[in-house]
C-alpha cells in the first residue's frame, strides 16, 4: 500500500474504531475510555502498517509481537483485532462479561493474538525485552513492540528495563509511549513528573523519537525509522490526548476509568460520526 492510501485507510478506520470502543464500554458498563481513545491511532497504525501478523494464524512463529503494557487500554486493541478478523466482531459486545475471551485486561490464555497478560502496570517492557532476547537467540527477523502509559512509566521496573534493553542492544524492540499527560489521580506532571523524558531515555542509551500520536504520517515515519536503528532499542514518545475524539471526554481525568452510560455513548457516537461524515442512523452492532 502506498503511503497516501495507507493514511486514507487509517483515517477511515479511526472513527469506526472509536465508535466501537465507546459501544464496547457502554455494553460492558465499566472500563477505561480515556486511555483507549488516546491509544487507538497508535494501535491502528501498528496493526495496519508495522505488525506482520496473520489473524487466522495468531501463533505464526514469524509474527511481530505486540505487548500492550498499559493493559487497561485493551478495548482499542480488541477493536482493531476484530476488524482484522482475529475473532468475530460480535464478541466485542461481550467485553468484560463472564466467560468472554475479551477480559477486562488482556489475557494470553483467553485470547489468541494477545502476547502477554497485563494489567499490573510496569511489567510489559520486561516481558517484551524477554521476547526480543528470544528473537535474537533464534535469529528471528520479527520485531517486538511495547505500548506503555505515561503514568505507568513511574514504575521502577520500567527503568530497570530501560537500563537492560540498552545493555542487550535490543534494536528489535520498540516502545510506543501513549503520552496523554493524565493518570488516575491527576496530571502526570503533578502526580509524579516524568520530564525531561526524552533526555532520560536518551541518557539510558535509547534511540528516541518524538511525534504527535494522532498524526498517522508521523507514527508511520517513527515506526519506519525504528526499523532502521541498529544496536539499540527505540523509544517513541507519542504526544496524545486522553479521550481523543469525544469532546466531553478529552483531557478529562474523570474519564479514565468510567464507562459512558447509554445516553453518553449515543452522544459520543453521534459526535464521532458527524465529524467523520458517517451516517448517523447506522446500527453500531
Amino acid at each position: 500500500m502506498d503511503l497516501d492510501q495507507l493514511v486514507r485507510t487509517l483515517e477511515e478506520k479511526a472513527p469506526r474504531y472509536r465508535v466501537d470502543i465507546v459501544e464496547m464500554l457502554a455494553a460492558a458498563g465499566s472500563g477505561h475510555p480515556g486511555g483507549s481513545l488516546s491509544l487507538i491511532d497508535l494501535i491502528s497504525t501498528l496493526y495496519h502498517h508495522a505488525l506482520r501478523q496473520r489473524p487466522s494464524e495468531p501463533q505464526w512463529p514469524e509474527r511481530d509481537r505486540l505487548v500492550l503494557s498499559k493493559g487497561h487500554g485493551v478495548p482499542a486493541q480488541y477493536a482493531v483485532m476484530a476488524d482484522l478478523g482475529y475473532f468475530p466482531r460480535a464478541q466485542l459486545w461481550t467485553l468484560r462479561k463472564l466467560g468472554s475471551p475479551l477480559q477486562g485486561h488482556p489475557c494470553r490464555s483467553w485470547l489468541p493474538g494477545i502476547e502477554a497478560s497485563t494489567g499490573s502496570l510496569g511489567q510489559g517492557l520486561s516481558v517484551a525485552q524477554g521476547i526480543a532476547l528470544a528473537g535474537k537467540l533464534d535469529k528471528g527477523s520479527w520485531r517486538v513492540y511495547c505500548v506503555m502509559g505515561d503514568g505507568e512509566t513511574q514504575e521502577g521496573q520500567v527503568w530497570e528495563a530501560a537500563l537492560s534493553a540498552a545493555k542487550f542492544r535490543l534494536d528489535n524492540l520498540t516502545v510506543l509511549l501513549d503520552y496523554n499527560k493524565l493518570q488516575i489521580d491527576g496530571f502526570t506532571r503533578d502526580v509524579m513528573n516524568l520530564e525531561p523524558l526524552a533526555d532520560k531515555w536518551r541518557a539510558f542509551g535509547w534511540h528516541v523519537i518524538t511525534i504527535d500520536g494522532h498524526n498517522y504520517r508521523q507514527i508511520i515515519g517513527a515506526l519506519d525509522e525504528a526499523r532502521q536503528v541498529q544496536g539499540r532499542p527505540t523509544y517513541i514518545i507519542a504526544h496524545t490526548i486522553k479521550g481523543k475524539g469525544v469532546s466531553f471526554m478529552e483531557e478529562q481525568v474523570g474519564w479514565h476509568g468510567v464507562a459512558p452510560n447509554r445516553e453518553q455513548a449515543d452522544r459520543a457516537i453521534a459526535e464521532l460520526r458527524t465529524r467523520a461524515g458517517l451516517p448517523l442512523t447506522e446500527a453500531v452492532r
Binding site: G29, Q103, W110, I184, D185, M192
Partner: protein, 329 residues
C-alpha cells in the same frame, strides 16, 4: 447431622438495619477523623487515592499525605523510612498491587518491625469486570507468612472503624488491612467491640460451623438462617484477625462442632481455609471444607462471580448441605 446436635440457642445474629457500606469508605472516614488528634499519622498512596479513599485524609491533611504515583515498591520503602522515624504510616493501593511487592513488605516493613499499615482495597474476585490482574486472591496467603504481620479483614463498616482506631492508637508493628470495593451488609450490632486477635462468633450452635471472613460473612449468616429454618443450628464465626489466628479461641468456639466450612473471597490456598486447617490440625483435627477460589479470577459481575464460586448465601448453603451430607469418616 443428627437432631441431637440441634442448638437450644435462639435465632442467628440478624444483620442490623444499617445500610450496606464498602469497608473502604469506613476506612477513609475514620482515618480522616483520627488525623486531627494524631499528628504522627502519615498516609501514602500510589495513584489510587480516590479508589482507596485515602483522598479523604489527603484533603484534610495535605502536608501529611504523599502521592507516590504508580510506584508501589517505592511507597512501601518510603513508608518504612517514615515509620522508622516515629511516624505511623498507612500506605494504600489496590491489594493486588501493594501486596505484589512482597519483598519490600518482607524486608523493609516487616523485618524492621515498623508500624506500617498496608491497606489493600479491592480485595478478591469481587473486583469483577476488571478481571484477574486487579484481583487480590493471594494477599492473605502471602502476608500471613510474616511472623509479626497483623492481618485484618473486617466484615462490615463498624468493624472497619474499630480496626482503624486500633491500628492508629494501639497496634505497634506492621499490619495488613484488607478492604472491599463493594458494599457489604452490617453484620454486627451497634454494641460490637472488635478485639484484636480474637475470633468473633456471631452465632453459637453445634454440628456444623461456618467460618467466614470479610465480604463473605454476610452470606454465611444468610446460609445459616436457611439451615436454621431446616431445624439445624450452625455456628457462625467471623474471622477478622486472620493472622495471628487465635487457634485456642477457635477450638473453644468450635467445641460442639464436628464439621467446618471456611468461606473467603481469596484463593483456597493459604488464606482463611488454610489457617483454620493449620490451627485445627495442631489442636483438634476436624473435617474442614474450604470455599474460595480454586482457579485464576476472571471478568464478570461481582454477583456472578460470587455465585460461581459459591461465596454468596445460596452458594454457602449448598456447600454446607454437601458437607453435612457426607458420611462420617
Amino acid at each position: 447431622m443428627s437432631s441431637s446436635s440441634l442448638s437450644t440457642e435462639t435465632a442467628p445474629a440478624t444483620p442490623s438495619s444499617a445500610p450496606p457500606r464498602a469497608t473502604r469508605d469506613a476506612f477513609g472516614e475514620t482515618l480522616r477523623r483520627l488525623g486531627a488528634d494524631h499528628p504522627q499519622l502519615v498516609v501514602l498512596d500510589a495513584d489510587l487515592s480516590e479508589s482507596t479513599r485515602s483522598a479523604k485524609f489527603a484533603e484534610a491533611f495535605p502536608e501529611r499525605f504523599f502521592q507516590l504515583g504508580i510506584q508501589e515498591a517505592n511507597m512501601l520503602g518510603t513508608a518504612a523510612g517514615l515509620a522508622a522515624s516515629g511516624k505511623r504510616v498507612f500506605c494504600c493501593s489496590f491489594s493486588c498491587f501493594v501486596t505484589g511487592r512482597f519483598d519490600q513488605i518482607k524486608v523493609s516493613v516487616a523485618y524492621n518491625d515498623l508500624p506500617v499499615t498496608i491497606v489493600g482495597t479491592h480485595a478478591g474476585c469481587a473486583v469483577g469486570p476488571d478481571g484477574y490482574t486487579q484481583m487480590a486472591l493471594e494477599d492473605v496467603a502471602l502476608l500471613r507468612t510474616l511472623p509479626n504481620m497483623l492481618v485484618l479483614q473486617p466484615a462490615d463498616d463498624l468493624e472497619t472503624t474499630q480496626m482503624v482506631e486500633h491500628l492508629v492508637t494501639g497496634h505497634r508493628g506492621p499490619a495488613f488491612l484488607r478492604l472491599t470495593r463493594q458494599k457489604v451488609p452490617r453484620v454486627h450490632d451497634a454494641g460490637y467491640r472488635f478485639v484484636p486477635g480474637a475470633v468473633d462468633p456471631l452465632r453459637r450452635g453445634s454440628g456444623l460451623a461456618i467460618c467466614a471472613t470479610g465480604a463473605c460473612v454476610a452470606g454465611a449468616l444468610e446460609a445459616a438462617a436457611r439451615l436454621v429454618g431446616e431445624g439445624l443450628s450452625p455456628t457462625v464465626i467471623n474471622i477478622s484477625t486472620l493472622a495471628p489466628l487465635d487457634g485456642d479461641g477457635l477450638v473453644a468456639a468450635l467445641a460442639s462442632c464436628e464439621r467446618v466450612l471456611t468461606v473467603e473471597d481469596h484463593s483456597i490456598v493459604g488464606g482463611l481455609g488454610s489457617a483454620i486447617c493449620e490451627a485445627l490440625a495442631e489442636r483438634r483435627p476436624l473435617r474442614v471444607h474450604r470455599v474460595g477460589l480454586r482457579e485464576f479470577g476472571e471478568s464478570g459481575e461481582t454477583e456472578e462471580l460470587f455465585r460461581k464460586h459459591h461465596l454468596d448465601g445460596p452458594g454457602i448453603y449448598l456447600e454446607a448441605k454437601a458437607l453435612l451430607a457426607e458420611a462420617p469418616r
